[in-house]
């Protein structure tokens, strides 16, 4: 009886409806406020560009969850997916499976060996070097530097850290694909700068703060604290404030937590490197829409769209913060 019902159902009509929006999905690598800013960019593009309807998924616990979300999206017949692969190399095979069934692009982290159509991202190593540059500006006379990060198992975290270390030790630049990573439990002594420690907190907020506190206790001559994940610099700032060493220990960070931006404005922190996350979201939607509309010109020959990064210091903080506010407000939409 299925043939009869197929005739009478309006299935054909709906498929031909030109107003039907492309259903696409934006998949992150976890739950983090960073991704909410990206989602803001997604919403913005959705509103501005029209013709697409985008789901945003935050896999709660790592790779298994990301994989099953992608599988479900495929099952659902989604037309395009932008994903930030948690482990690009390990996932290549699976990503190819995905790419075979839908339009796949990567953002934030690339899977260069996979069949993804385009990668939207920044060079985290370069961004790390830029962060090292900020540290140099913050403490031009040199001194002890400690690094704080959530987890070093994420490639971007390792790249950033390596960038900072290489820059401070004035090592030559490494190519993104072939970076040699330094050990974690090691002190790196350069001419002016010494990287005394790297502490991880596993995303536990109180650990992030107490790591900062303990570093202040341990390294009496600490000159600069570098936070590689969004929540790290604000925790460092709190610890410094409570130790009565505001201004004495400089802070340089990554990302754009409001507390950090405020501190830059107030002169308590030196600066931060922003990847302008909304651009990931915006560009991802723009790419997918273009690809789905059959407009191949959106994809550059290099298959790489560099959204770049921005060094934010007291000089440009007002302008940057205004942009962030605008983006957040623009994209805010309950999911």
């Amino acid at each position: 009886g299925s043939e009869d019902s197929a005739n009478t159902s309006g299935g054909g009509e709906a498929g031909a409806n030109p107003k039907t929006k492309h259903k696409i999905a934006y998949v992150t690598n976890g739950i983090d406020p960073f991704w909410d800013l990206c989602a803001a960019g997604v919403r913005q593009a959705e509103n501005e560009l029209g013709g697409v309807e985008c789901e945003v998924h935050f896999p709660p616990k790592g790779l298994a969850d990301q994989k099953s979300i992608l599988e479900t999206l495929l099952a659902k017949g989604i037309k395009g997916i932008a994903v930030s692969p948690i482990d690009a190399d390990g996932q290549t095979k699976f990503l190819n499976e995905v790419a075979a069934q839908t339009k796949l692009i990567t953002h934030d982290a690339d899977a260069p060996k996979s069949d993804r159509l385009v990668y939207i991202g920044t060079d985290n190593y370069k961004a790390g070097r830029a962060l090292g540059q900020l540290v140099k500006e913050a403490i031009p006379d040199g001194g002890e530097v400690a690094i704080f990060v959530g987890r070093l198992e994420q490639l971007n975290a390792r790249q950033r850290r390596q960038g900072v270390i290489d820059e401070l030790l004035d090592r030559p630049s490494q190519a993104l694909g072939q970076i040699k990573f330094d050990e974690v439990a090691k002190v790196f002594k350069g001419e002016k700068y010494t990287i005394v420690d790297t502490r991880t907190d596993n995303f536990v907020m109180d650990a992030a703060k107490s790591n900062a506190e303990d570093a202040i206790t341990k390294y009496e001559n600490l000159a600069c604290m570098v936070g590689l994940f969004a929540y790290n610099p604000p925790r460092c700032l709190q610890a410094i404030k409570e130790a009565g060493k505001l201004g004495q220990i400089k802070v340089c960070g990554f990302d754009e937590d409001d507390a950090l931006l405020q501190a830059i404005k107030d002169g308590h922190a030196y600066g931060t490197i922003s990847q302008q996350p909304w651009k990931y979201g915006y560009e991802s939607v723009r790419m997918l829409k273009g690809i789905l509309d059959g407009d191949d010109s959106v994809v550059p020959a290099s298959k790489f769209i560099d959204v770049g990064y921005k060094s934010v210091t007291a000089k440009n903080i007002d302008e940057f913060w205004a942009e962030k506010r605008k983006m957040t407000a623009l994209g805010a939409k309950k999911d």
């Binding site: 789901e55 935050f58 790779l63 298994a64 099953s68 948690i86 996932q91 070093l152 198992e153 999911d335």
Partner: protein, 326 residues
């Protein structure tokens, strides 16, 4: 099949039906295959923990054991060890872990919750340390890859994933062990009344240790399955939280945390319910932020309904007795 299992089966069918009705793609081959795959993975963990729960114990460490085994496998391959040999070594390691748990619990008489909580912390820390907290890839050691995460096509996009075969073997053995062998009977007896079992000549310590060994062993198997399924390991994350899902599956599937009660089939269905819920949330398009809340509610609803049904049955039985007597 007992009454408990019927309840959870009903829940499964209900959610299955609702999801199907609200999304036509739900029943396609691709999605079904995936659902079967993830359910199998969860069910294997759940069966392991069910054995421990039947003895009246608990195992909080399995998530970390999964992480450890997965990490060590990747590490060993990287170091150039023979993959197949490593698999056996790691399964051996998980047996040893279970043995240690069991010995601490029976001989030193520590509480299972405490021992396995320490295990949870310890194995996770060791994984992170050994791998320097780096994500590790699984190279294509072809044989193992398709053994642990391959598929046998059926028709269309319907296929049978490797973990299902593992589950079938494990479930059949487990159910057989529990219901048909003397040791299974002993396990149930000691879960109900440990002293009573001991006075009947049952070597309760050995059996309890066996239960922890089975549990850790199946966690080890799961670790390999998960790792090969994902082709990669994150030492800080892989397996995190799984103990809670496994325990939830065991409880929802009819194991009482008081011990002495358990049904393998129920655990499998319960694991499938948990996976189905997640699938359903993603398919129907409910905010992923709500996922945990919904799973929590459904489990709570499930066990509450179970409890209330039991009471009604008991009441009816009283009424029957009265009717018969007067």
């Amino acid at each position: 099949m007992n009454k408990n299992t019927l309840g959870i089966l009903g829940l499964f069918i209900l959610i299955f039906g609702i999801t199907w009705a609200s999304n036509e793609n739900f029943a396609n081959g691709y999605n079904m295959t995936n659902l079967v795959k993830w359910s199998s993975l969860y069910a294997i963990m759940g069966i392991g923990v069910a054995f421990v729960i039947i003895t009246g114990g608990i195992d909080l460490s399995i998530g970390s054991v999964i992480g450890l085994v997965a990490a060590l496998m990747a590490l060993a391959i990287k170091q150039g060890w023979n993959p197949t040999l490593t698999v056996f070594l790691l399964l051996g390691l998980s047996l040893v872990i279970g043995l240690i748990h069991g010995l601490l619990i029976t001989k030193v008489k520590l509480q299972p919750f405490v021992v396995t909580l320490c295990g949870l912390l310890f194995y996770r820390g060791i994984s992170r340390w050994l791998t320097d907290n780096q994500t590790m890839q699984y190279p294509n050691t072809e044989g193992l890859d398709s053994f642990f995460s391959g598929k046998v096509g059926l028709f269309g996009q319907f296929s049978l994933p490797s973990p299902l075969f593992f589950l079938i073997v494990i479930a059949v053995l487990a159910a057989f062990f529990l219901n048909r062998t003397i040791w299974g009977r002993y396990l149930l007896a000691l879960g109900n009344n440990e002293d009573g079992a001991r006075y009947s000549g049952i070597q309760t310590d050995r059996l309890k240790i066996t239960a922890y060994v089975i549990c850790s062993f199946l966690a080890g198997v799961s670790g390999l399955l998960f790792a090969y399924e994902l082709d990669s390991v994150q030492p800080a994350q892989t397996g995190e939280f799984y103990e809670l899902y496994a325990i939830a599956a065991a409880v929802l599937g009819g194991c009482s945390l008081r011990g002495g009660q358990g049904a393998i089939f129920g655990v499998i269905i319960a694991a499938a319910v948990i996976r189905l819920l997640r699938n359903s949330i993603n398919l129907v398009g409910i905010s992923t932020h709500l996922e945990f809340a919904i799973i929590g509610l459904v489990i709570l609803g499930g066990v509450t309904a179970d409890e209330l049904i039991k009471r009604i049955v008991a009441k009816r039985r009283t009424a029957q007795v009265n009717a018969a007597k007067s």
